[in-house]
């Protein structure tokens, strides 16, 4: 096989992996509010990617908004989770606001057989947090919702800071145990109020 043929084969394999991942996402539970589609990050040219739903704060600071962004594709759940979280920790696209303190980095990510994911963040998430119950809830659930929305294998997310369990990020929200997704803090990308989401039924997934 010539070098050129090998190159084509690799490109086809990578593209197939990306398509497979996208199909998996389509068949997995989605966050109920419709994600905003305008804000997308341009992927590096020639790199396979998936479209993931990330969570940022609305411009008025009141709610989480699901935003679809392109994320580099990976071949395993754990690697894909790392890629998604690394993008989630970057600056938010306009007009949204990043609720995870600037400088916070992902130290580790892993998933247990029970479907609990562990997200280990650097200490900046605590030391640079501005405080307040609302902002703390939004910070915690931006991460929890992002992981559980994009990785069907993950049911709950436990936050760690510098490799250790912590009580809270800013003094209010209990993060000692794995947390499930919370959609009560989520407002749809078209500006609707945060509130109880519609029922998560097969029909609602198909309509998307």
């Amino acid at each position: 096989m010539s070098r050129r043929a090998k190159g084509y084969l690799i490109a086809i394999v990578v593209a197939a992996a990306g398509v497979t991942w996208s199909l998996t996402r389509l068949l997995s539970p989605e966050p109920s509010p419709a994600p905003a589609s305008a804000a997308t990050a341009a992927p590096p040219v020639g790199t396979a990617h998936i479209t993931a739903t990330l969570y940022y704060v609305s411009s008025d600071g009141r709610a989480l908004v699901p935003v679809r962004r392109d994320v580099p594709a990976a071949t395993s759940v754990v690697d894909q989770g790392r890629q998604i979280l690394n993008v989630q920790l970057q600056a938010a696209p306009q007009p949204y606001v990043q609720v995870i303190p600037k400088g916070t980095t992902l130290r580790a990510f892993y998933v247990t057989e029970r479907g609990d994911a562990f997200v280990d963040l650097s200490g900046d998430v605590v030391s640079a947090h501005p405080g307040g119950s609302l902002t703390e809830l939004l910070t915690v659930y931006a991460i929890v919702n992002t992981v559980t929305s994009n990785l069907p294998a993950v049911q709950r997310v436990q936050l760690l800071v510098e490799g250790k369990e912590v009580d809270t990020i800013a003094g209010h929200v209990d993060v000692r145990r794995p947390l499930e997704r919370d959609t009560t803090l989520v407002r749809d990308g078209r500006g609707g109020d945060a509130g109880p989401p519609p029922a998560k039924t097969q029909d609602s997934k198909l309509k998307k």
Partner: protein, 512 residues
């Protein structure tokens, strides 16, 4: 002769009687375990067991060690013990009624003694020996069975009957002058003294239409029990010469009124107004006896800081103190503040203060922050249970049999510390609803005024508990308002009103 014999017999009988009389108290003193001391401190109150030996009241050093966090080390060569507290030492020996306290000699009523594996010290050891090296004042009021730690407000309260009547006139005198709230119903007059405890002097028994005067279930409450012929009592409060005097007039009932005097405040509508039998010493437990207020953050943990510099930790403590004043004056309820100064307190320490103080209600006060300046208004949070919490709520309490002093066992319901809130979530939701209604009347309210979340402090609270976010300090108008007296008083009043309403809910749910 006959007369001599009678006289002699009488003398012999008198001598025997004298021996019996003089001997009886000593025997009783040696045989009877004294009533436990009541330790009263800012952290609450607890009983302290003591024993009597050879007429001396003694306390075990291991109890002292756990109560005061001192280290006790036995010196077998010297035949005594060394007690250490923050680098200062007390040395006491078994053969001398004295102790060396940080190099100074203090006398004790008796030497320390050994009873099996325990060392016992006379209770005077606490104020005389431990007091000088302890970082808080230790005051022993033996007659009142009180052990006061710290600067506690414990006025002397005496009662006397001026006229047996009817009408029976009595006076309760509080010295030094201390605010007191008085409540009456058909069977009693209840005085709540705004103090940590009282030192009672109640020398008389049943007189006129008054059956008894005694300290209530709380150490700052006086019960004046009326007899069955008594009508509705009237009271008047006057303060002069640094004493507060409560004059009580009890008329004879011609026909017992169905309701108490409308001019006098009443607290518990479920109290009996008919001739229900009363068990002496067994008063019904009030639904709301203790309130825990948690001023959020503190010390290095400032919480949210507004653009003009107002810090969450300042605001929460300020409002907490205002609320404490309102509740103590208005309801006579004991109030626990999880912090009363600018210091950092751990979350579990806050929960422990409420749980160990047996608070009936916990309000955690906070101020909110957002990433934008637009959110504003008060919000109330209550705990949301996760899978484990739901399992605890739906499962019957796990009972564990623990051994008790004197033999036997006692069943204790065991709930995991981090899931203590599981059985109170519904009541907490009700409390949040009442708070939202009261806050809405006095201060700006948020777009989502009631929210549920996994709140760390609330999850460990073993009582109805909510977290109140009073305002957004990231909103410049709210920060400016929150710094003012009007806002802080309005929030405190709204919280107070909600507490009064929630007390009614507690009483209804507690009713058989």
């Amino acid at each position: 002769m006959s007369r001599w014999r009678v006289t002699a017999h009488t003398r012999v009988a008198f001598v025997i009687l004298l021996c019996l009389i003089s001997g009886a108290p000593q025997q009783a003193q040696d045989a009877t375990v004294p009533a436990p001391l009541m330790l009263v401190s800012k952290d609450g109150r607890r009983t302290v067991p003591t024993v009597t030996s050879s007429g001396r009241e003694l306390i075990a050093l291991d109890d002292v060690a756990s109560l005061f966090q001192v280290a006790v080390r036995e010196d077998s060569l010297a035949g005594g013990v060394t007690i250490t507290y923050r680098g200062k030492t007390i040395i006491a020996s078994a053969d001398q009624p004295m102790a060396s306290v940080d190099g100074r000699i203090v006398t004790l009523p008796s030497p320390i003694t050994r009873n099996g594996r325990r060392w016992l010290v006379p209770i005077e050891f606490l104020p005389r020996a431990l007091g000088p090296i302890y970082d808080q004042r230790i005051d022993l009021r033996r007659a009142a069975r009180l052990l006061l730690v710290g600067d506690m407000r414990v006025p002397r309260v005496s009662a006397r009957v001026d006229a047996p009547g009817p009408p029976t006139r009595a006076a309760v005198v509080i010295s030094p002058a201390t605010p007191v709230s008085v409540m009456t119903d058909a069977s009693r007059v209840v005085l709540r003294v705004e103090a940590d405890a009282i030192e009672p002097v109640f020398p008389f028994g049943a007189t006129g239409l008054i059956d008894s005067v005694r300290v209530g279930d709380q150490p700052n409450v006086v019960f004046v029990a009326l007899n069955r012929q008594a009508g509705a009592a009237k009271t008047a409060i006057a303060t002069a010469d640094n004493t507060t005097r409560v004059v009580i007039e009890v008329p004879m009932a011609e026909a017992r009124p169905a309701t108490p005097d409308s001019k006098l405040p009443t607290t518990d509508p479920r109290l009996p107004t008919t001739e229900s039998p009363r068990l002496p010493g067994l008063e019904p437990r009030q639904a709301l006896q203790t309130l825990a207020i948690d001023p959020g953050h503190g010390g290095d943990e400032v919480g949210v800081r507004g653009a003009s510099g107002l810090e969450e930790k300042q605001l929460t403590l300020d409002v907490a103190r205002r609320l404490r004043g309102l509740v103590e004056r208005g309801l006579g309820v004991r109030v626990i503040l999880t912090r009363d100064d600018d210091r950092m307190v751990g979350i579990d320490e806050r929960a422990a203060a409420a749980n160990n103080g047996k608070a009936d209600l916990l309000l955690s006060l906070h101020a909110n922050g957002a990433l934008s300046g637009s959110p504003s208004g008060a919000e109330v949070f209550y705990d949301r249970l996760d899978r484990e919490g739901e399992a605890v709520r739906s499962a019957p309490a796990a009972a564990v049999a623990l051994p008790v002093i004197g033999g036997g066992t006692r069943n204790i319901d065991v709930v995991p510390w981090e899931l203590a809130q599981a059985r109170h979530v519904e009541a907490s939701a009700m409390l949040a609803s009442v708070l939202e209604q009261e806050l809405r009347q006095r201060v700006p309210i948020g777009q989502r005024p009631i929210q549920q979340g996994p709140m760390r402090l609330l999850s460990a609270a073993n009582m109805p508990a909510v977290l109140v976010e009073m305002a957004y300090l990231t909103n410049s108008a709210q920060e400016k308002a929150a710094a003012g007296e009007e806002f802080k008083n309005a929030v405190a009043q709204a919280l107070y009103n909600a507490i009064v309403r929630f007390r009614g809910y507690l009483e209804e749910t507690a009713a058989p």
